[in-house]
Symmetry: C2
C-alpha cells in the first residue's frame, strides 16, 4: 500500500463532522468531542447523531447519519463495539470520507474483536471510507478547532495553537503528549492517534503532517512497524519536505522489546536496523519523553543554526564549564573568541572568563547593559551560528529581569539569523515573553545544549543535501534464483560481477590444472580443498598457504586430496581452489541479513575482535549510495584501523564504500530470493590499491513449493 495523502485530508480538515453516538453529558466519551469542538470554536458543521435526542449540547441532533441534511466529511464513531459495523456502513452509504472509530473492544481484546476489525477495514476499503482506529483517541487540528477526541486533558479551554504536530500510535501516549505540551506551554498544530490501525497507520499520519505547511516538526511515537515500505515512504516525504521528525520508537532493550511485543501486535524487527533507518533519514530518535519534548520544542522555533559553532554566555563560570562539557557530548564546536575581543571583555570585567564560554560574572547585576555589550560582542566578533546564555535563577527576580529584558531584546533584534537559547529559571509568564522575543528557553543548561546539538546535526544533514542514489550494478550482473545452492567459488564470482571485488580464484580438478591456475594467479597462492561435506577445512589441513612455485602447487593439490581422503573418505570433492595470497590491508566483514520488517539489510564491521568481542557493527537498509556507505564506515568504533594505526598506511576507504553500496544494490535487486550474504574477511588494501572479498557465502531462499 502506498500513502494517499489526499484521502487523509478529511481527517484533519473536514468541513463537517458527525459524532455517531453523541451524548448530552459532556463528561462522557460521546459527549466530549462535541464539547471540545464547541469550546475550541470549530468553524465547520457539527452533527450530533443519537436516535434518542433531538438536541445535544445545544445543537440539533439526528437519529442516524443518513438523516443529516448536508454532506458529512468526517464521522467520529463512539457507539459500543457491536454497533460500530452498522455505523461504518451508514457512513459509507452517506458518502462520508473519513471515520474515526474511538470505540474499543476489537483486536486489543480478542480474536473475535480482531475479526470484527478486519471486517471494518474491508468495508472501508470497498466503500472508499478511510478509517482511523478502532480503539484510538482521535484527531485534532488546533488551527480549525476540530477536536475530535475524548481525552479529558483538554479541560475547559481549547488546546494552544502552535507548530508541533503529534502522531502517536498509542492513544495513552498521545494523550500524555497533549498534557505535557500544555504543561510546557507548547502549542500544537495537528494531533492524531491511530490505535489499532485497521486502515490508517502511523506512517500515513506522519506523512500527512510532514507535508502540512502549518507543521514545523512532527513528534512521532511508534511501537512497531506494520508496513515497512509505507514507513520508508513517509520518511521520504518528510525528508523531501525538510520537515524534522522526532520519533520515539520503544523497545530498545531486551525487556523493552519483549514488553513492546506483548503490548502491540506489530512486528518489532531488529532495533539496530530500525535505528539505522532513522539515521538514514535524518530522523532524531529520543530515548526519553523529556528529550522528545526538549528537541521538539527547539525544532518548533523554526530556525536552524547555520553551523555547529556555538558561543556560550554565562553568569557562572562553573556552569559555563558544565555547558562546554555538554557541548562536546552534543557535537557542537566552541571556537574561542578573537584575542582582541577577549581583551576588550577583560577590560570591561577584569575577572570575566573571555575565551568561550564568555563568563559575564555576577557583574551584570550591577550593570544590566553589560549583558547586551558582552553577548553582542560575542555574536558580532565571534564566528558563531548560535548562542546559549545561562542566566541561573535571575528569571525569578522581577527587579533584575526588568533591567535585563531590554538588553536581551536588543541582542536578539541585532542578530535575528542566529539561534538564541536561554537557560533560565523563570515563571511561565516571563518565559512566554522571552520566547516572544525569539529566545528558546530551557531550565537546564545541559538540556538546552543537547537540543541545540540535535538542531545542528539536522541542519548539517540538510546542507549535505540528498544522499547519492544507490549505484547501478555493472552490466551483466547476475541475478539470483531461489533454491540454488551457491558454492564459495560461484559466490565470489557473482559478487565480483556485481561490482563487489573478490579474490580471483580457479577451481582445479587435477594437479596439472592447479599448477596452471597458480601460475596464472601469480605466486604465492593459497590452495583449499572444496567440498560441501568438509566444513572445517583448516582442521583437517585442507588449506595450504604460501604456495610459491608451480611444482609446489601440483604437490599441494595431491596433498590436499590425500588429507581429505584420510579424514573424510566419504566426502564428495569439488576440486581444489587456487587463489593469489592477499597480504596486508585491514580485515573487515560485510554482509546482508534479511530483516523480518525491512528486508535486506547490509551489515558492516571491522574484522576479528571488533566483531567478535565488541559487537562493533553497523547496519543500513538496502539499497543506499556511496556517501551513506562512507557514513556507515565511519560509525564503527574501530574506524581508526582504516585510517591507519601503528604506522600502517590509510586503507582504500573509497573502494570499501563502493563495494558496500554495490552490495546494497545487489541485495535490493535480489531481495525476493536472497537469504544472507556473508563476506568475511573483506580485505581493504592501502589507499589506491582497492579492496576484495577473500571468503564469501551467498545463500538464497528455497524455491517456492520446493
Amino acid at each position: 500500500m502506498t500513502i494517499r495523502i489526499e484521502t487523509l485530508d478529511a481527517f484533519f480538515n473536514p468541513r463537517s463532522v458527525a459524532i455517531v453516538g453523541a451524548s448530552s453529558n459532556f463528561a462522557k466519551i460521546g459527549g466530549r468531542p462535541v464539547h471540545n469542538m464547541k469550546i475550541a470554536g470549530y468553524g465547520g458543521r457539527i452533527y450530533p447523531v443519537n436516535p434518542g435526542a433531538a438536541e445535544i449540547q445545544g445543537l440539533p441532533a439526528f437519529p442516524g447519519i443518513a438523516d443529516i441534511p448536508g454532506a458529512v466529511d468526517m464521522a467520529v464513531i463512539v457507539v459500543p463495539m457491536p454497533h460500530v459495523e452498522a455505523a461504518v456502513t451508514a457512513c459509507i452509504e452517506k458518502g462520508v470520507k473519513a471515520a474515526i472509530v474511538l470505540s474499543s473492544g476489537f483486536a486489543e481484546i480478542s480474536e473475535e474483536g480482531a475479526q470484527a476489525q478486519r471486517r471494518l477495514a474491508d468495508l472501508g476499503t470497498e466503500g472508499g471510507l478511510r478509517i482511523m482506529g478502532p480503539n484510538c483517541m482521535g484527531v485534532m487540528n488546533t488551527g480549525t478547532g476540530m477536536i475530535a477526541t475524548f481525552i479529558s486533558a483538554i479541560g475547559d479551554r481549547g488546546p494552544e495553537r502552535g507548530t508541533i504536530s503529534v502522531a502517536a500510535q498509542s492513544g495513552a501516549f498521545g494523550g500524555h503528549c497533549f498534557t505535557l505540551a500544555r504543561e510546557r506551554g507548547l502549542g500544537l498544530n495537528l494531533w492524531a492517534t491511530m490505535g489499532n490501525q485497521c486502515d490508517v497507520e502511523f506512517s500515513d499520519c506522519l506523512a500527512y503532517m510532514a507535508q502540512d505547511p502549518g507543521t514545523r516538526v512532527v513528534l512521532g511515537y511508534m511501537e512497531g512497524v506494520q508496513d515497512a515500505e509505507k514507513l520508508v515512504e513517509a520518511l521520504e516525504i518528510a525528508r523531501a519536505a525538510k520537515k524534522p521528525v522526532v520519533l520515539m520508537k520503544v523497545g530498545r532493550s531486551e525487556v523493552g522489546t519483549a514488553a513492546a511485543a506483548s503490548h502491540t501486535a506489530s512486528l518489532t524487527g531488529s532495533d539496530a536496523v530500525f535505528d539505522a533507518l532513522l539515521r538514514q533519514y535524518n530522523v532524531f530518535r529520543p530515548h526519553s519523553i523529556d528529550e522528545m519534548f526538549d528537541v521538539g520544542y527547539a525544532f518548533a522555533g523554526g530556525l536552524l543554526p547555520k553551523s555547529a559553532k556555538t558561543g556560550i554566555v554565562t553568569v557562572s563560570g562553573g556552569v559555563g564549564v558544565i555547558m562546554a562539557d555538554a557541548a562536546e557530548d552534543a557535537g557542537l564546536e566552541l571556537p574561542p573568541l578573537p584575542e582582541a575581543t577577549q581583551q576588550r571583555m577583560k577590560a570591561l570585567v577584569p575577572f570575566a572568563g573571555t575565551r568561550n564560554p564568555l563568563d559575564v560574572t555576577a557583574q551584570f547585576i550591577n550593570d544590566a547593559t553589560l549583558m547586551e555589550t558582552m553577548y553582542g560582542a560575542l555574536l558580532k566578533e565571534g564566528d558563531y551560528a548560535s548562542a546559549v546564555c545561562f542566566l541561573a535563577g535571575v528569571g525569578l527576580n522581577p527587579l533584575m529581569m526588568k533591567e535585563l529584558e531590554p538588553s536581551l531584546d536588543a541582542v536578539r533584534r541585532r542578530f535575528p539569523d542566529h539561534l538564541h537559547m536561554l537557560a533560565i529559571l523563570t515563571t511561565p509568564e516571563r518565559r512566554a515573553r522571552l520566547q516572544a522575543m525569539g529566545y528558546l528557553c530551557y531550565e537546564d543548561p545541559s538540556r538546552a545544549i543537547h537540543a541545540l546539538g540535535v538542531l545542528a546535526w539536522y541542519a548539517e544533514a540538510l546542507r549535505r543535501g540528498p544522499s547519492a542514489p544507490p549505484p547501478d550494478l555493472p552490466a551483466g550482473a547476475p541475478e539470483l534464483n531461489a533454491g540454488t545452492a551457491i558454492n564459495e567459488v560461484e559466490g565470489k564470482r557473482i559478487l565480483a560481477a556485481a561490482g563487489v571485488p573478490a579474490v580471483p580464484e580457479r577451481l582445479a580438478a587435477s594437479a596439472a590444472e592447479a599448477a596452471a591456475a597458480a601460475t596464472a594467479a601469480g605466486f604465492p597462492v593459497v590452495m583449499k580443498i572444496v567440498s560441501a561435506d568438509i566444513l572445517h577445512k583448516s582442521e583437517i589441513g585442507g588449506v595450504i598457504l604460501n604456495v610459491a612455485t608451480k611444482e609446489a602447487a601440483g604437490q599441494a593439490y595431491r596433498d590436499l586430496l590425500a588429507r581429505a581422503a584420510a579424514h573424510a573418505p566419504d566426502a564428495r570433492i569439488d576440486g581444489v581452489l587456487v587463489a593469489p595470497m592477499v597480504s596486508g590491508g585491514v580485515e573487515t566483514i560485510m554482509g546482508v541479513v534479511r530483516d523480518p520488517v525491512f528486508g535486506p539489510v547490509v551489515m558492516f564491521g571491522l574484522g576479528g575482535i571488533f566483531v567478535e568481542v565488541l559487537k562493533d557493527v553497523t547496519f543500513r537498509i538496502a539499497p543506499f549510495g556511496i556517501d551513506e556507505a562512507h557514513r556507515m564506515i565511519r560509525e564503527v568504533r574501530g574506524y581508526p584501523m582504516l585510517e591507519g594505526v601503528r604506522g600502517a598506511p590509510p586503507a582504500d576507504e573509497e573502494a570499501l564504500a563502493g563495494a558496500l553500496a554495490r552490495l546494497s544494490t545487489f541485495a535490493a535487486i535480489n531481495a525476493d530470493v536472497l537469504e544472507t550474504i556473508d563476506i568475511n574477511p573483506f580485505i581493504v588494501l592501502p589507499k589506491g590499491e582497492g579492496a576484495l572479498a577473500v571468503d564469501a557465502l551467498i545463500s538464497v531462499l528455497e524455491a517456492a513449493g520446493g
Copy 2:
C-alpha cells in the same frame, strides 16, 4: 593538611554571629545576612558591627568586633577588600573561631589580591581562626536559621528545611543550587560555598556535611582539587558514614577542561583519574544539574532499595516499554511476575500487560481500586525491592486523584520497606502530599528510573561492604631510589620481588652463559640483545625467537652480537637476555603514571588495538585491594577477551587482579621517587596458570639536586 572537623563546627553551628560591615539596608550585601538570619529565626545572637550606626535592622550595633560584650563564635566579613585584613585581625584578637569572608577583590582579580589572600590565610593559621572565602557566598544551616549569606534568592521567606546538604566551591553555583532546590520543593540542611578557599576547602565542607547527622546526602560541586589527600580523606569519611555523595566535577571535555582551568586556579589533573577516584569511593558523578538534583532528591528520601529488582506499574503500555528500556540502561532488573499473578491480573483487566511492566491500562479511571489491587499484587507476589508507577497527567485531574490517592496511600503503607516512585504530572501541592505518603515523585519516567538505578548501584556498594585493603608486598620487596636508571632486566626483577610476576630472565655475557641460561629456563627460549644504546631491537634483528636447543642458544648469542656490531658498532652491550618463550594467554598492559594531583595512578587495559585504537583503559589511584582490581578489570570493554573468546579458555583473572593490586601497593610505597611503570605486554595465562610481565620499564625521578 588533614581535615579537622571540630574546627569547622563554628561555621555551621555558631551560638553567636557578628556581621562585620553590617548594613541597615537589607538589599545590600552587608544588610542581607542580618535580614536573612532574622527571617529564618536564628536562635543565637546576631551582632551587627558598623562604626557608623547604633542600631541595625532593629538590633544594637557595635563600632568594632572588640566592642561586642559576649563571646563571638563566627564572624561574617562584608567590608571592602582593603579593610578585610584588619577585620580578620580583630576577629583573632576577639577569639572568634570562624570567619566567612564574603568580600571579593582577592586572588580572583590580581596577583596583589592573591598576596592579600595569602596574608589572610597566614593570619588565620597563626591566630587559630578558620576562614571560609574570600569571595564566597557564605554558609547556611537551615535547621538553626543561621543564614550567613547574601544570596538574593532567599527572598522573604527562609529556606525550606530538609536533608540535602550542598557544598559548592563556586558561589554562583551554590546560589543556583539554592534556587533550584526551592523551585523543586526540596529542603536543604547545610549549605556552604568556599570561593577562593584560602583556608577552608571544598573537602573540609564535604567531610563536615558527611558526618553531620541531619544530612542524608551531600550535593557537591568542584572545579579542581587543591589538596588531593584531603579530598580522599573527605571521601573516606563519607564512605565510613555511609553517606551518599553526588559530586559534580566540571571539565570532562577538552574545551571544558580549558574553561575550568581558566576559571579557577585549581589544578585539574586528569579527568579519567578523577572519575576513577569517584568510582573507588562510590560517589555518583552527574553530568548535568538536572541529573544532580534528580539523584540528590532520591537519596534525600533516605531509603535504599534492597536489590536492583524493580517492578514497573503503568497506565500506558507504551510508556511502560520506555521505562523498561530506561531500566536496562540504569542497570536495574525487571524479572517477570509469577505466572499465577499474571493470570489473576489478566482476569481483572483482560487487555492488561502483566509481565513486568504491569500495565493497568486506562481501566483504573473507571475503578480506582484497581491500582491498589494490581500495584499491591505486584509487590506482594513479585520479588521486587522497588516500584516505579507511571500515572501520566492524572495528577492534574483533581477528581481522579481524589479516587486514586487512598489507593496509593494504602499500597505505600502495606509495603513500607519498598522504595516507591511515581512518574506523574501534578501540582506542587499534590506532589507534596504524595511525597508525604512516602512516594518519590518525578515528572519524567525515564528520569525516575535513572535515579532509582543510581540508588540501587549505591546500595549494592554498601552491601559489598568496605573494599579489601591493598595487599602487603612480599617480604624483602625492594624500594626504589631516585636518580637510578633501571634497565629492563632489573625492572622485571624488582617487579617480581614486589609480587608482580615477570618472565624469569638471565643476562648472559658469553655464548656459554647463554647456553646454560637457556637450558635452565627450559626450551624454547627467546634471546634479545641488551644495550641502552639500541632502542629498537627488532629492527636490527636483535631479537631471536624460538631458540630450541643448547647449541642454537650459543649460536644465537654470537649472531646477536654480530648484528649489534654491524648495525651499531659504538653501542655498549650489556649482554644477551635469555628468557623462556611465553605462548598463549591474553595480552594486557598495565602501568603506573604520576598524576599531578593524585600521585601514582595504576592503569590497566587489554593489549593491542584495545589500547591503541579504542583507548580502552581504566585507572585507579594507588593503592587498592584485590576486589577493586577485579572491578577495574571488568570495566574495560575488552573484558570478554579474558573470559575467553573464539574457544580460548578463560584467563587467570585472579592472578591478574593480584598483580594489579600489588603493583598499586608498590607504586604507593614508592610514590616519592616513582615516575612511571610500563608493563607491556603483561600476559594472562589460562585460569590456574598465572600471569606474567614480558616487558617492563620502570623509571624514577631524578635525585633531588641531581
